[in-house]
């Protein structure tokens, strides 16, 4: 140990320089290891075994150790390690079970030194003793660990794990005689090198294989382990029982773990599958990685810190056949992208808000909340002032209450219970729901329902409706394509935007052309639409003066909402353009090419639901008179739905969706399908792409799930179930398919009844007999909680009509709610 520290301090004097860089290897790497001079790195894989010099600007191939005409399996390396005392000494573990040592000092081309063929299965790991020059340890798939003295021809001692394959072996850096080994069955064992008969200590660290472990370079007893269960755990081994100190949950099984030099709580990990990044974690902050390196295109298989006392250089090898040097300062830091504020509404409008302490302290005086403010509750972490993010990690939680006595959500429950969603003709449904809304004093909603009725239930539209239906479909296809294009590369190109508009315009002009079969001339009715636009706009201005409470929200809410389904950037300029340009007939002629049309269309749409009481109603009446097909309104209805959803009234949005069913679905689906149709991997907890996130939010599915969530929080189980059942989106109706099993225990022997729900196979009795008909109840069983007699739902109901005593004859006066 003395020797070791002397060596490293001597090295510590030299300053490492370099930059983030990578070089291409000829083949995928399986492992890498760094020479103690921090200037060379060895890369080993199935068909590669090379030494690279790390220069300031690049990697330079220095030596190819894979020599010979016919490369043997001994060169197919699973692991490689460079001796930290001797620059000339390397060891590799071969997939065929051979341990090979290499002496770079040999004059011949073949540097192979010794061959140990004692393991029967693949050797997973080799490890040199940190201070002894001749001691090498290996761990193999056959469940054995062997210790070799390089001065002898075969192993000095063999350690049997008495269990499955050994995945990793590591000498303790501080304890001369100790090494740790990890196993496929989740165990970690601690051995004394002098006692091969049994291990000093064994404990189960992970569920499933433990792929790797690493001793802390400074803290004597700290061991980090990583497993297939996607966790990294830090154990304190100094205590009598190994104690779990920290646990980091990653998103994929952990293949390697390495403590970061000079940073007591940092460690680097890479994963075995799916995830290609390298993360550096602060173990005290296990949810967000401190740094992230994203250079590799395939899984990273080997990581190594370049110098044992320099925390800023990390080297890595990958299956994508590249070798990388990462600089810590170039790492991306997910913390910076994370939103440190959290906000959540309670069921009755209470608001909880968590934010950085400093932020809250500074601004709490100016908060414009009108609600009654409770004492904010503070959660403080125990801080380590030495750490740079100490300030970030502390946050405060405040809870704001709405005004007391606020029956604010009463309307929601009432509405949910009283709405009719299916089972009657559309007109009746609309009328009924309008009535409900009106009775609850929600006139705008009531008006909307009336309008929907007007739009969709007018007679005599069938022939044109059919025609334009197919056209509309074509148009929506185009839109969908465009949308998926946008999704793929989110470049905010204006090109895609205009093209999108054009396709929209096309679709509409087609509709219009085919509409000529209807009685009115197309031009005319378009003029009408365009014409009606202006007064609407004008009216908006009017209204704003009157009731700014609601409409002040409008520019923020409806407009960002509209472009969200297209592209966020261009909404405002377009709108202004429209205000400036008076709609004229020349416009209409070439409108397929002009982006204004869709812009104005969007305007109609976003305006429509707001001034529901007067202006738009008249507009839609005018339109109805000219016999427009309902499809003409689909854009408008869609935007209306978006409007309600944006306002937080998902109830309205979902109810309308369900009531209208097929009539509007395809329009809304344009977005949904794109977002929901992709095979989704579980989202990463961090590094969410902001755009894709917003897209997902927009989906119809999202409305459904939030509505269902709300209903369930209000315990409106029946309504929520009805909604799930009536929903048209597959993902939502799937909600009812999960966890549908109801486990029943036998009422006599109290054990689970598995094969049939009504007869116990163990005590051979029927669990539930109907007190009325004395038959077994196989379906719904209802019973009195007083005397616990009961039976078929129908039978009991019938019985109770005639008598209130228990049908079983026990004399109890049964009560059913």
């Amino acid at each position: 140990m003395e020797k070791m520290s002397r060596v490293t301090t001597a090295l510590g004097g030299s300053v490492l320089t370099g930059r983030t860089m990578h070089c291409h290897l000829d083949a995928p790497a399986n492992a890498i290891s760094v020479c103690r001079d921090a200037a060379q790195v060895v890369v080993a894989g199935r068909s590669i075994f090379k030494i690279y010099a790390i220069e300031e600007e690049q990697f330079v191939e220095k030596l190819n150790l894979r020599v010979g005409r016919k490369p043997s399996l001994n060169l197919s390396c699973a692991d490689v390690v460079w001796h930290q005392m001797d620059e000339n000494l390397l060891a590799t573990a071969a997939t065929n079970g051979v341990v090979v040592t290499w002496n770079l000092g040999r004059p011949s081309r073949n540097k192979q030194d010794q061959l140990f063929t004692e393991h029967k299965r693949t050797v997973n790991k080799v490890c040199f003793h940190p201070t002894e020059a001749h001691v090498l340890l290996s761990g193999s798939q056959d469940g054995f660990m062997k210790c070799f003295d390089l001065r002898r021809k075969d192993s000095v001692s063999t350690f049997s794990g008495q269990s499955e394959s050994v995945r990793d072996v590591q000498f303790s850096i501080r304890d001369y005689f100790t090494f740790a080994s990890t196993f496929e069955n989740g165990n970690v064992q601690l051995w004394d090198i002098r006692r091969p008969d049994r291990c000093e200590r064994m404990f189960t660290a992970h569920n499933g294989p433990v792929f790797c472990c690493d001793w802390h370079p400074e803290d004597r007893g700290w061991l980090a382990t990583g497993g297939r269960d996607k966790m990294v755990k830090v154990w304190d081994m100094t205590t009598h029982r190994a104690k779990e100190m920290h646990c980091v949950q990653t998103i994929a099984s952990v293949a390697r773990v390495k403590w970061r030099p000079e940073c007591r709580h940092h460690l680097a990990t890479c994963s075995m599958m799916v995830d290609h990044n390298i993360y550096v974690w602060d173990v005290r902050r296990p949810f967000v990685p401190a740094a992230m390196f994203e250079e590799h295109r395939d899984v990273t298989t080997g990581i190594a810190w370049r110098h044992p006392h320099d925390p800023s250089f990390l080297l890595s090898g990958s299956k994508d056949s590249s070798l990388c040097q990462h600089l810590f300062r170039d790492a991306s830091q997910p913390v910076e992208r994370a939103n440190p504020e959290g906000l959540c509404y309670g069921l009755f409008g209470d608001l909880a808000f968590a934010a950085k302490e400093s932020l809250v302290a500074a601004e709490s005086g100016r908060k414009p909340y009108t609600g009654d403010r409770r004492h904010p509750i503070f959660f403080k972490r125990k801080l380590d002032p030495a750490e740079p993010f100490a300030g970030l990690a502390s946050s405060a939680l405040s809870v704001f209450e709405t005004e007391p006595g606020g029956s604010a959500m009463r309307w929601f429950v009432d509405t949910a219970e009283r709405y009719a969603l299916a089972g009657r003709p559309l007109a009746e449904l609309c009328d009924h729901n309008a009535k409900v809304a009106r009775e609850l004093g929600r006139n705008q909603v009531a008006q909307t329902w009336t309008m929907l009725r007007t739009i969709y239930c007018s007679p005599g539209l069938l022939p044109t409706a059919n025609l334009s239906h197919s056209v509309g479909k074509g148009g929506s296809c185009g839109l969908q394509l465009m949308n998926s294009f946008n999704l793929k590369d989110m470049a905010p190109g204006l090109g895609s935007e205009t093209r999108l508009d054009r396709s929209k315009g096309d679709a509409r002009s087609d509709t219009v052309l085919l509409d000529s079969s209807a009685t009115l001339i197309t031009n005319e009715d378009n003029e009408e639409t365009e014409g009606s636009d202006v007064p609407a706009d004008y009216l908006l201005g009017d209204v704003e003066g009157e009731d700014d409470e609601l409409y002040l929200l409008d520019p923020e809410h409806t407009h960002p909402e509209e472009p969200e389904c297209v592209l966020p950037q261009e909404a405002f300029p377009l709108r202004h353009e429209i205000v400036d340009t008076p709609p004229g007939p020349e416009h209409l002629q070439d409108k397929a090419d002009s982006p204004h049309v869709s812009g104005s269309e969007a305007d109609v749409a976003s305006l429509a639901p707001m001034d529901s009481s007067f202006s738009l109603l008249s507009v839609s009446h005018a339109l109805y008179d000219s016999r427009l097909p309902p499809d003409f309104f689909s854009v408008l209805v869609r935007d209306m739905l978006h409007f309600y959803a944006e306002q937080g009234d998902v109830q309205m949005a979902v109810s309308v969706l369900i009531v209208l069913g097929e009539r509007v679905r395809k329009d809304i689906d344009e977005q949904t399908q794109v977002c929901g149709g992709r095979g989704r991997l579980p989202l990463k907890r961090f590094a969410l792409h902001p755009d894709s996130d917003r897209q997902a939010l927009l989906s119809q599915e999202h409305w459904y799930t939030s509505y269902i969530d709300l209903l369930q929080r209000f315990r409106l189980w029946n309504v929520s179930n009805e909604v799930v059942k009536l929903s048209t989106s597959r993902a939502v109706s799937c909600l009812n398919q999960a966890s549908t099993t109801l486990h029943v225990n036998c009422s006599h022997c109290k054990r689970p009844m598995s094969s049939r729900g009504w007869v116990c196979d163990r005590c051979h009795r029927c669990a539930s007999m109907c007190a009325v008909c004395h038959h077994v109840v196989k379906g719904l069983f209802v019973w009195c909680q007083g005397c616990s007699h009961g039976g078929h739902l129908q039978h009991i109901m019938k019985w109770l009509e005639g008598s209130s005593h228990c049908p079983a004859g026990c004399g109890h006066l049964c009560e059913y709610s």
Binding site: G208, R228, V274, R678, L681, S754, R765, C766, V776
Partner: protein
């Protein structure tokens, strides 16, 4: 199944309505009634399958817990020779058929039907036709592939490859299925489907390999059940040399040379174990041994078909009844020896580069949660299952033998273990066994009772069932490895 003795008295305890009693009695009769035919398997005499009471209890418990039909079918009866394994088998099967998963229940059974149809396994098809209808599947689909949604039809290609030549699956196949569009599969759905396909391909191997008899099911109610036709019906296949075999099995233990066969095998195992340390083959030799084994597997069946199948219907252009082929396309597509395709020379699958434990598990579990653990347990169970016996000998370490069987199956699918000496396969597995292995894993529908009887004559039937389990799981793992590797490549 020998609950018959106790049932009359047990029935007296029942407090049942007449209606239920009827139902139960009917159930019971199915389970209890002594069959007029040969029991659950055509290969194994019935008395061999009959177990001690405790085992039966255990089995019945498992069946109640995990069987989808709620009855003790023939597969379960045969597998109940190895109760430990049976549990993990039923648990994983139950999980993929009934528990939370991305696919709707009828889909799962239809996929099982598609998979079984690749090997013309009428037993499994019948079973799942019933289940399919019971879970609310649309009866029309059973008319054939043309009647199912395009989405399911798209699965056909991967079903075909997976069943016969899994090494041909590439990430393009995966991409084609998951790319956005009308009939796309989400990755979790696809993984679920792949697991089901692999499971039922492998199970078909077991069904044929153990000569499972058709269920004696009185209710042939729907028109979709297949009546086993001579061509491929198991019992018929088994029957063709029944008389001859009956005499054989009767005098089995008297045959001297078969006894010495066993001794010789034990001797070889011992020698291999001892030789291990001193005799070390060079790398070139090791790799030639693998190649040799691969190549040899080529001749194993083609050579022996002459002797064991004089009938022409077992040729490649075997006639398949329309009943089965309606669930598949391209029925002529079959196993082709991995070693044969000299020209294109696909690279050997290096087991160490994509292992089940490291890679397969993580992927499967990520996309279809928990199935990984169940499969993991099943693979582990079958690999480590041992009673330390070999025929009449006790206290034998059979690890070597099990590993040879497992790796030989993988070898036929082109999966190579760097740390395995394929010379061992040659020493441990006699030719007749190799013929059997190859038939069961690659063309299970051609298995005959003669093949089953011709290897390891003095071994117990339960040990042969153990062999079948190993073959089944090895095959399933091989298919899964190829499919999952393709999915991984698609993801990266």
């Amino acid at each position: 199944m020998n609950r018959g003795g106790s049932s009359p008295s047990a029935a007296a305890n029942y407090l049942l309505c007449t209606n239920c009693r009827k139902v139960l009695r009917k159930d019971k009769r199915i389970r209890v009634s002594q069959p007029l035919t040969r029991g659950p398997s055509a290969f194994i005499p019935e008395k061999e399958v009959v177990q001690a009471n405790t085992v039966v209890e255990r089995t019945n418990f498992l069946v109640e817990e995990y069987s989808t039909s709620g009855r003790l079918d023939n597969i379960t009866q045969v597998m109940s020779l190895h109760t430990q394994y049976l549990e993990s088998f039923l648990r994983s099967q139950f999980y993929m058929l009934r528990m939370d998963g991305p696919l709707p229940l009828p889909y799962r059974h239809y996929i099982a039907i598609m998979a079984a149809a690749r090997h013309q396994c009428s037993y499994l098809i019948n079973m799942h036709v019933d289940e399919f209808l019971k879970t609310g599947g649309i009866a029309e689909w059973l008319n054939g592939l043309e009647y199912v949604p395009q989405r399911l039809k798209n699965l056909n290609e991967i079903n075909k490859l997976l069943a016969h030549r899994p090494w041909l699956i590439t990430k393009e196949h995966i991409q084609k299925l998951v790319k956005t569009g009308e009939n796309n599969w989400s990755l979790p759905e696809l993984v679920h489907a792949v697991v089901l396909l692999a499971h039922y391909h492998a199970l078909a191997s077991f069904v044929f390999g153990s000569g499972i008899n058709p269920e004696r099911d009185p209710e042939i109610s729907n028109g979709f059940r297949l009546i086993s036709v001579n061509n491929f019906c198991v019992c018929d296949l088994a029957n063709d040399n029944n008389i001859e075999n009956a005499s054989l099995s009767g005098s089995n233990f008297g045959i001297v040379d078969s006894l010495s066969e066993l001794e010789a095998l034990m001797e070889r195992m011992k020698r291999l174990q001892e030789e291990r340390e001193d005799e070390e083959a060079t790398q070139e030799e090791m790799s030639t041994r693998f190649e040799k084994e691969k190549k040899e597997s080529l001749f194993v069946v083609s050579g022996d078909t002459f002797h064991s199948f004089p009938h022409s219907e077992f040729e490649d252009d075997m006639i398949i009844t329309s009943d089965v082929s309606r669930y598949i396309e391209d029925p002529g597509f079959g196993y082709e020896d991995f070693a044969r395709r000299g020209e294109e020379h696909l690279p050997t699958f290096r087991a160490q580069d994509y292992t089940w434990e490291n890679h397969g598990f993580s992927l499967v579990n990520r996309l279809y949660s928990d199935i990984g653990h169940l499969l993991d347990e099943k693979f582990r169970m079958v690999y480590n299952l041992t009673y330390n016996t070999m025929a009449t000998h006790e206290d034998v370490d059979t690890t070597m033998l099990r590993r040879a069987l497992f790796n030989y199956v993988h070898c036929m699918f082109g999966i190579r273990y760097d740390d395995y000496d394929y010379g061992e396969v040659n020493q441990l597995l006699e030719r007749s066994l190799k013929v059997y292995i190859k038939t069961v894993t690659c063309y299970p529908e051609r298995t005959t009772k003669r093949m089953y009887d011709s290897y390891w004559r003095q071994f117990k039937h339960s040990e042969k069932v153990h062999v079948n389990l190993l073959l089944m799981e090895a095959r399933m793992q091989a298919e899964l490895l190829y499919a999952l590797r393709a999915i991984t490549r698609h993801l990266t």
